[in-house]
Amino acid sequence: MLPDIILSMNMKFPEEWHKKDLDYSSDQDEFLKGGRFRYRRLKRYSILLTAIVAITPLIIMTIINSHQYQKALKADLIYPISRQTSNTRRSLESFIEERRAALDLIIKEKNYEELYDHDKLANTLRHLKESIDGFIDLSLIDSRGKQVAYVGPYRLEGRNYSDQDWFHEVSIKGVYVSDVFLGYRDSPHFVIAVVHEKANADYYILRATIDSEMLYRKILSQILRPTSDAFLVNKEGILQTPSADHGKVLEKSAIPVPPYSPHSEVLEKKDADNNLYILGYAYIENSPFILMEVIQPEAFMQNWLTMRNNLVWFLGISIILILIVIVWGSFHMVNKIREADVKRIKLLHQVEYTNKMASIGRLAAGVSHEINNPLAIINESAGMLNDILSVGDAFPMREKVSKSVNSILRNVDRCSRITHRLLGFAKRMDTKIESLDIHELITEVLGFLEKEALHRNIKIDTNFPDNLPAITSDRGQLQQVFLNILNNAIDAISEGGKIDIDVKLRKNDKIDVIIKDTGRGISKQDLERIFEPFFSTKKEHGTGLGLSITYGIVQKLGGKIAAKSKVGEGTTFTVTLPVEAPITEEQ
């Protein structure tokens, strides 16, 4: 029954367990090798998602803020422009209306003859100029278009306007305000003409020339700023007044004529170079003029650009800081997860190992007890036979019977040793820590093996450094460790071999005991399993527990054990022990 149990237990050990045992010093990270990509991906996702969640709202907020600020800035700018355009419009309308009303009053107050009289007309012009500025000349035109009287700086008497559009328009509408033009006077001006009907259905026209420069000087120039321009255009977009940046009088304005509106309007426009500007405009009532007020973008763009630059800096620095924190945080977090995983895996392995050992221990104790009783019976029965044979009479084949009985007794003894070692395996956990000299301990162990080595012509060389410190460990268990390894070494050497025991003090308070034999060596496949319980290469001579016990003890004492071997050349075991064994809870 026992071999079956051993076999079934042997099958239970997973591949990775004994592979790990072989190279005990290997980094636990190797267990996570397959998961490295997972951690990198986790890091990437963590950085990406956190960055999106943190930075997107910031960018959106910045954009919204920027737009709102821009909007507020524009609103702050547009309202005064609108108000100013409206005021200027009223001033212009008043200017024209005032002059029209003056002419209307003159034509109504004075009769044709008075107006026809040159001196009286000149006197009227003088009075007019004294009251209202801007008047250049004054003329009387009859219904046939002939200028019958003229007072002013030019010699224009007798001119006939019957073929001109304005004459027909004023004849129909009764009042007329012209575009600015050069005319016979060769200087920019516009005319206001009013009609007066006589009793005989005939009519005459009083026509005054107004210096258009007055509009610019008296009204438009008052609202000019370094970043703004104000001028008049007619409905064809021809400049009616000088302008700071948009051309000379009677040139075509680069700014297209805005659509008609009865109110003052403010528009955001872009010029040919795609630069933004603000256009405030108003159609001047009862005139062909359109007031245009142009604000260059610098005025508000300067504030806006400063604000935008500040926002960009703020956004940039915030994003960099957030990214630094996110990257650091993600690395830190993922590393913590990784460390926790490593710890968990280590713990799982430890638990797995401890559970296996405990199970094996319980099983071993049960098995050894159950076997020891029948062994005792066999032992006593065979002993009885031996006793009888020793005193009984000679009979044929007595020697053979005696030999068989002795064989039974020898094998009972062997079985007994196996059960004792099984129990030793189960109970090896108990430790007693004391200060000991490793040199003395190994020499003591060698004392047990001296005769066997001598008998088999095996030379044992030792090399202990002088400065070897005393170590704290369990004497009995360490003896078992070295006894097991040395026993195996002696078993591996057929005849006339050599065992070297080399002790080295390492820098990190550890001692290496290197036991090298010139035995037959262990194959690669077997080497992977030598620390596995019940694995033996000695066939019927071994229990398969020696190295497993050794491994468990070394691990318990805070050390490591590693084996290297080459078939035909020998095996080297390296036992690394701490100068101070860790004190476990159990101890």
Partner: protein, 123 residues
């Protein structure tokens, strides 16, 4: 020494009977019983010098049997037998009053030696 009275107690009949035969063969008289109850009964009938008692027995274990024996015959020396293959049970038994212990399977020569020593201590 040959007149020593020895009592063997073990639930394994083959073991105690063979052991008794072997002791007999070497000139020692030994009674073999299969349980603690039988052993106590025997002690009521006869005085023994040494009792060899198995620790693990059904109903009453060897250490309890030993304690009862020592109450009945305070001079009796008890040698425990343990099939557990370890020294722990034996040492525990000695702390409870056993003279000595042996781990199964038993070496008869050593057992006889221990019996002699136990009896010698009495003398």
């Amino acid at each position: 020494m040959q007149d020593l009275e020895i009592l063997l107690v073990d639930d394994e009949e083959e073991l105690v009977s063979t052991l008794a035969d072997r002791l007999e063969f070497r000139g020692y008289h030994a009674d073999a019983v299969l349980s603690g109850a039988e052993a106590i009964k025997m002690l009521g009938q006869k005085k023994y010098d040494v009792a060899v008692v198995d620790v693990k027995m059904p109903e009453i274990n060897g250490i309890e049997v030993m304690k009862m024996m020592m109450k009945l015959q305070e001079n009796i020396k008890v040698i425990l037998m343990t099939g557990h293959g370890s020294t722990e049970e034996g040492e525990h038994g000695m702390s409870e009053g056993a003279f000595d212990y042996m781990v199964k399977p038993i070496n008869l020569d050593i057992l006889i030696s221990k019996i002699k020593t136990a009896a010698g201590v009495r003398e």
